[in-house]
């Protein structure tokens, strides 16, 4: 049987039913209205559950340096997105990080993707719509 549009609605609704299944509520901590894209130097990475964390030293237009901390998927999800511990992201790497800022903490973010120096862009965390309403 070939499906036509009304049936596709069923499938789409089915597939969206489990959409709020990331580890935690994004919306409680992060603000989807505050997207951020930053280029900087990785200073540390914690390859831990349930979220990896890494810090990024970012130099502002005024020359001031801020250290951002980002959290992303757990290691088991990252390896399935092509990440390798100790290889993909290392201190000293210059990368561009896209994600969203935290609601309260000024230099905390949830990472969605990381563009590496070689141009590869890897998924690193959930979309902003996960969790909450």
């Amino acid at each position: 049987m070939r499906l036509d549009q009304p049936c596709l609605v069923f499938v789409a609704a089915l597939l969206s039913a489990g959409a709020a299944n990331a580890h935690h509520s994004f919306a409680a901590i992060f603000d989807s209205e505050k997207p951020v894209t930053l280029t900087g130097t990785v200073t540390s990475i914690e390859w831990v559950n349930p979220h990896i964390h890494f810090t990024l030293e970012v130099k502002g237009e005024d020359g001031a340096v801020a250290e951002w901390r980002f959290e992303g998927f757990p290691p088991n999800m990252l390896v399935r997105q092509g990440w390798r511990r100790g290889e993909t992201l290392k201190p000293g790497n210059t990368v561009t990080v896209s994600g969203w800022q935290a609601r309260k903490e000024p230099y905390l973010g949830s990472v969605r993707s990381v563009r590496l120096a070689d141009g590869r862009e890897l998924t690193a965390g959930p979309p902003a719509s996960i969790g909450g309403r």
Binding site: D4, F10, G18, S25, V48
Partner: protein
């Protein structure tokens, strides 16, 4: 047509009627260029049962685990195979239970037991974005979950639920075969889990009936009927399609290792003046 075959396997008469209505709604639009692909490619055990063994991931979790391209490929495969299931409707909460759910939603998920690394219950654990392995034996089915590094033992030898059950996160499962469908009845839950997304709470009175139907070599049709007379007006039905991942392996996942959300959410809970109470 696999959808009709799935309807045939559904034992609940009311649900069967609903599915037939949906199917009849779809079919005229479909033009019925159906190939009626048989289930000949479904692996079977020596006793003739469909073999559910393998490593699986829920389609609803594919986008998170494998990315949007994998999800699109899965949707295309389902369209090509004529594989479709009814939509999962919103949970049919009674007014007071719905009010509690709205409060959980307003609090943006900070009450979610999963965020504290507590075991996801049934059926939520089947739809988390990490794979699980089913091991089918003649007298039991074992499900090994990467998430939480958890497992379920599902006897299929006719034994009843134990009489000394204490409420637990995953409850107690007993399985039986209805034709080619594995039917699993789960009871003995605590009220500390959510069923799906944010705020989908339940009570200890909940009973879940799951149906696993391997409709092809690559897929299992999954239905969970959640009956909880304390919070629901009627049973809540959820559906998903599990997809075989032969190149996967179940890895260790220790959620509590460095869970900063516990501290964050406890702080938010303390600052809240409106703390919902579970059932």
């Amino acid at each position: 047509m696999r959808f009709v075959r799935f309807v045939d396997r559904v034992s609940n008469a009311a649900l069967r009627g609903t599915l037939v209505v949906i199917a009849s709604t779809c079919m005229p639009l479909a033009g019925l260029t159906q190939s009626d692909a048989s289930a000949d490619d479904v692996p079977r055990t020596s006793d003739g049962r469909p073999d559910l063994s393998g490593i699986w991931i829920a389609t609803s979790a594919l986008g998170l685990l494998e990315g949007s391209e994998a999800l699109q490929a899965a949707r295309a495969a389902d369209r090509a195979a004529g594989r479709a299931l009814p939509a999962t409707e919103p949970p049919p909460y009674k007014p007071e239970a719905e009010a509690l759910r709205r409060r959980y939603l307003d609090r943006q998920g900070i009450d979610d037991p999963m965020a504290r690394c507590l075991l996801s219950g049934v059926p939520r654990i089947n739809t988390r974005p990490l794979p699980f392995e089913i091991v089918q034996l003649p007298d039991r089915v074992i499900i090994l979950y990467e998430v939480h590094h958890a497992f379920r033992l599902i006897p299929t030898d006719g034994r009843p639920h134990p009489e000394d059950l204490e409420p637990t996160y995953l409850g107690d499962s007993v399985g039986r075969w209805e034709g080619d469908t594995l039917v699993v009845e789960v009871v003995g839950f605590n009220a500390n889990t959510w069923l799906a997304g944010t705020g989908t709470h339940h009570s200890e009175a909940m009973r879940v009936v799951e149906r696993y139907t391997r409709d092809s070599a690559e897929t299992i049709l999954y239905e969970a009927v959640i009956d909880d007379p304390i919070v629901f007006e009627k049973p809540w039905r959820m559906y998903d399609i599990f997809r075989l991942r032969p190149n996967e392996r179940i890895r260790e996942y220790e959620c509590i290792e460095s869970n900063e959300d516990i501290v964050r959410f406890e702080e938010l809970l303390r600052s809240s003046e409106d703390t919902p109470r579970a059932n």
